[in-house]
């Protein structure tokens, strides 16, 4: 396992393992006595889901001394993993086939999987951002891209009249105009070399007199590349929650509905 994916609080996985062992033992104990496991495991699941959902609430009251978000995230992840055992005890270690049961089960797993994916993204993408270089706030990227476009336009305009300026202007109109104005969610593997090659050609075409403007444009295009990559990676870092949270809301609603039905018909 990559060093980046290691647990940061080692006592949490230990505690989770203990909890899983405990619920499994309880389930086996009760099964040996032909006692029903569904009720207690169902309530445990619902309580666990409530605690997991409370993470979102915790974020809304940052000044309360109830433990930092890092600790809460740790609990969130490991409690979520522990619920895998509980839900399977609840459904009797068989895949559900009823419509609603299947829906609830699928929602549950989709939340777990997206959560794990998000966790991995949160661990692996920040170092990637560090390799990209530069640091810019996500919401400022579009305006920065616009500014770069304006800068490039200004560079091109400033050298109007100089021999070779037409080449630059054409290049701007053909390529840079479309490339620079808006950020794009793309990595563009190998773009550094492509850009360098392109500008080498451009520099030759524009002539030695325009070496400085070409260099300026190159710097602008390079920065745009960084912007695009930031736009992509930071967008992913922000975007995965768009999947996880709505699914979690659905799962919670379905779980509460399920509990309501059970309570209505119980006894």
């Amino acid at each position: 396992m990559s060093a980046w994916l290691r647990p940061r609080r080692l006592w949490l996985p230990g505690l989770t393992a203990l909890a899983i062992a405990g619920v499994l033992a309880l389930a086996a104990f009760r099964a040996a006595r032909l006692e029903d496991n569904r009720l207690w495991s169902g309530w445990t699941m619902l309580s666990a889901l409530a605690v997991l959902a409370a993470f979102n609430l915790r974020k809304r009251v940052p000044s309360l001394p109830v433990g930092g978000n890092a600790l809460w995230l740790g609990w969130h992840v490991w409690l979520g993993l522990a619920t895998i055992a509980v839900i399977h005890i609840h459904i009797g270690w068989r895949l559900p086939i009823g419509t609603f049961s299947w829906l609830l089960y699928s929602l549950y797993w989709s939340v777990v999987v997206t959560g794990l994916v998000g966790l991995a993204l949160g661990r692996l993408l920040p170092p990637l951002l560090a390799t990209i270089g530069g640091e810019i706030i996500y919401e400022r990227i579009p305006e920065r891209a616009l500014a770069l476009h304006a800068e490039a336009a200004a560079v091109v305009e400033d050298c109007a009249g100089t021999p070779g300026a037409e080449t630059l202007k054409r290049h701007f109109v053909d390529r840079l105009d479309g490339e620079l104005a808006t950020p794009r969610r793309t990595w563009r593997l190998g773009a550094e070399a492509a850009i360098a090659a392109r500008f080498a050609v451009l520099a030759r075409a524009a002539g030695p007199a325009l070496a400085a403007p070409v260099a300026d444009l190159l710097a602008i295009v390079r920065e745009k590349l960084l912007l695009d990559r930031h736009w992509l990676v930071q967008g992913v870092l922000k975007g995965w929650l768009f999947v996880h949270i709505p699914l979690a809301v659905l799962a919670l609603i379905a779980a509460i509905y399920h509990a309501a039905i059970i309570l209505a018909y119980h006894g």
């Binding site: 060093a3 980046w4 290691r6 940061r8 974020k59 809304r60 009251v61 940052p62 000044s63 309360l64 001394p65 109830v66 433990g67 930092g68 978000n69 890092a70 809460w72 995230l73 993204l121 949160g122 993408l125 920040p126 170092p127 951002l129 560090a130 640091e135 706030i137 996500y138 930071q234 870092l237 922000k238």
Partner: protein, 576 residues
């Protein structure tokens, strides 16, 4: 924009004297003290004459035995000169012996504050003396055995040892200047051992005295030479204590004092910000001695901090810092004794206000030459350090930490007691920190997740609650001040008139002027300009949970700490 004066005389140096009860005879008496006798009134500005300083910035205090003059932890704002009697430096709590402070008063707190305090008290952090009050020898300085732990006080010209009597401050002692100028907490409690008289000089007065006349410096140095050098440094130094008293006397006589002052370094720093950041800054720090330079002196740090660095291509890498009591040049001394080339093994630069004592190396060599124990100690000391003179240096720090240290030194972040650092290799850019700050401050975040980066760490523009909060300088209403409780620098919205002095002064752009709103609408002054107020991080000083940004980060990426703690971040990453 300078506010218009409400009445004539506003621009005068003093509006009201420091002490109302300063009579003419008191003034005359003070002027007659040796310290003031050394000063030449001619050197003083018309606006702030010597007599005026004495009259308006000094106060003659009379204390009876047992009365406390200053308490450890109080924020300093004045220096003292002992006229008669003796004061005792109380060591309670400093050397970790006992923890009862019967004088500690209970402060009223709001219910959330009480809850917060209860919560904090569940896990009390271990008691320890703040680092900046201790001259902890590190790096080049000799390592003191823990049994002989010596405490050097930054703002007192004494040193203390656990197994000795508490040090005394006798007539003529001048002390408390460092914490007055830096507005840092007092390093010890000083109480009257006998009935005594003390002249208290407030910080503005001390500054004027220093700037105008060399007399204060000269006085301090003479005092140092007479008493502190022998009593505090020679006695406790592992090198000098091995010398005979004759040798020590000779050294005292030969000692030369050196001061490097840079009280307004922040303005040069700011202008430096406009240029290339790295090249200019360190070069602006006064050079004490250079790497490879033929060593003429053996340096002893008396106050302040000295940066020890090595040349690294075009720039410099910081290897460490020397503090009060540290020695530099002993390596060159040993080389000289071994008949090898004696050169300084590193470059020294002064940070802020530094006072040094330097001894001629030849003299020291002569005095040490016949002393086997001293030479043995020199050799032992060198053996404890890694060999390379070319400067492996910073031997206790991992490479990442060294670079980080370098970066922080460059950006003067060593000044901060609560530097916000975001580990960019952990940060997912979720902005929970900014959101939490905003939620805690009525929707107005007190920082932006933007700032200088280095080694994969981001240092956002968030108030660092500096050791030397220059933002306090110039505030006309005292709206920006240190919080009594924790020492955070806090803006009192009620008193702020939006003059931007603090924002302009802050060298790190950490204070921001925001528009005042009244029920959502802008408020304009008669000139049509919106009224502003200063907004900056207040470390959530009135919140039970501590800084919201720290507790809001889900990935432990954001931390707030002073310099040594920040290096732990780099170590953490190394170990990841």
């Amino acid at each position: 924009m300078t506010p218009r004066a409400p009445s004539g005389g506003f621009t005068a140096r003093w509006k009201a004297p420091f002490a109302a009860g300063m009579t003419e005879s008191d003034v005359a008496r003070v002027l007659g003290l040796p310290l003031f006798q050394r000063m030449d009134p001619v050197n003083f500005a018309v606006r702030a004459p010597l007599e005026g300083i004495v009259r308006n910035d000094c106060a003659l205090r009379r204390l009876s035995a047992g009365q406390v003059l200053m308490r450890q932890g109080d924020l300093g704002s004045s220096a003292f000169l002992v006229v008669s009697g003796e004061l005792r430096v109380s060591l309670r709590g400093i050397l970790g012996d006992d923890h009862d402070y019967p004088d500690e008063e209970l402060r009223p707190e709001s219910p959330p504050g009480i809850l917060g305090r209860i919560w904090r008290n569940l896990r009390p952090s271990p008691e320890r003396v703040p680092r900046h009050l201790l001259a902890v020898p590190a790096g080049e300085a000799p390592v003191v055995s823990p049994h002989a732990l010596v405490v050097y006080f930054q703002d007192l010209p004494v040193a203390a040892r656990r197994d000795e009597e508490p040090p005394r401050l006798g007539p003529g002692t001048f002390f408390g200047e460092m914490s007055a100028i830096g507005r840092t907490p007092r390093s010890a409690t000083v109480e009257a051992a006998t009935d005594c008289e003390v002249v208290e000089i407030r910080a503005q007065g001390v500054r004027d005295l220093r700037v105008a006349d060399p007399g204060l410096s000269g006085y301090i140095f003479d005092r140092y030479r007479e008493t502190s050098l022998q009593r505090d440094h020679f006695r406790h130094s592992p090198l000098f204590s091995l010398l005979s008293s004759y040798a020590q006397d000779a050294l005292r006589a030969a000692a030369v004092f050196e001061t490097h002052s840079c009280f307004d370094w922040q303005s040069t720093y700011q202008t430096g910000q406009q240029d290339q950041r790295r090249a200019g800054d360190i070069a602006r720090e006064p050079l004490i001695c250079d790497h490879g330079q033929p060593a003429q002196w053996l340096y002893l740090v008396c106050s302040g901090f000295v940066r020890r660095c090595r040349v690294d291509g075009d720039g410099e890498t910081t290897l460490g810092y020397l503090a009060k009591g540290a020695l530099f040049g002993d390596d060159a001394l040993l080389n000289h004794l071994d008949d090898r080339a004696r050169e300084y093994s590193a470059r020294l630069r002064a940070l802020g206000h530094v006072e040094l004592v330097r001894f001629p190396l030849d003299v020291v060599a002569e005095l040490v030459a016949g002393n086997g124990k001293a030479i043995a100690w020199l050799r032992e000391n060198r053996a404890r350090r890694p060999a390379s003179v070319a400067g492996v240096g910073a031997d206790t720090l991992a490479p990442a930490a060294v670079d980080l240290l370098e970066a922080l030194g460059t950006t003067r972040h060593y000044n901060g007691t609560s530097v916000m650092t975001i580990d960019l290799e952990r940060c997912t850019r979720c902005d929970d920190c900014v959101r939490a700050c905003s939620q805690t401050h009525n929707g107005q975040p007190r920082f932006v997740r933007h700032g200088p980066t280095s080694q994969g760490f981001l240092f956002p523009n968030a108030c660092m609650h500096c050791m030397d909060p220059v933002c306090l300088v110039g505030c006309p209403t005292g709206a920006i001040a240190r919080d009594d409780d924790g020492g955070q620098v806090v803006v009192n919205d009620q008193l702020c008139i939006g003059c931007s002095s603090c924002a302009n002064t802050c060298p790190y752009d950490n204070i921001r002027m925001v528009e005042r709103r009244h029920h959502g609408a802008e408020v304009l002054d008669p000139g049509g300009y919106p009224l502003l107020r200063a907004a900056k991080c207040d470390l959530c000083h009135n919140q039970p949970g501590g800084p919201a940004c720290v507790s809001a980060c889900p990935h432990d990426a954001l931390s707030r700490d002073a310099l040594p703690g920040l290096l732990d971040l780099a170590r953490r990453r190394e170990g990841a």
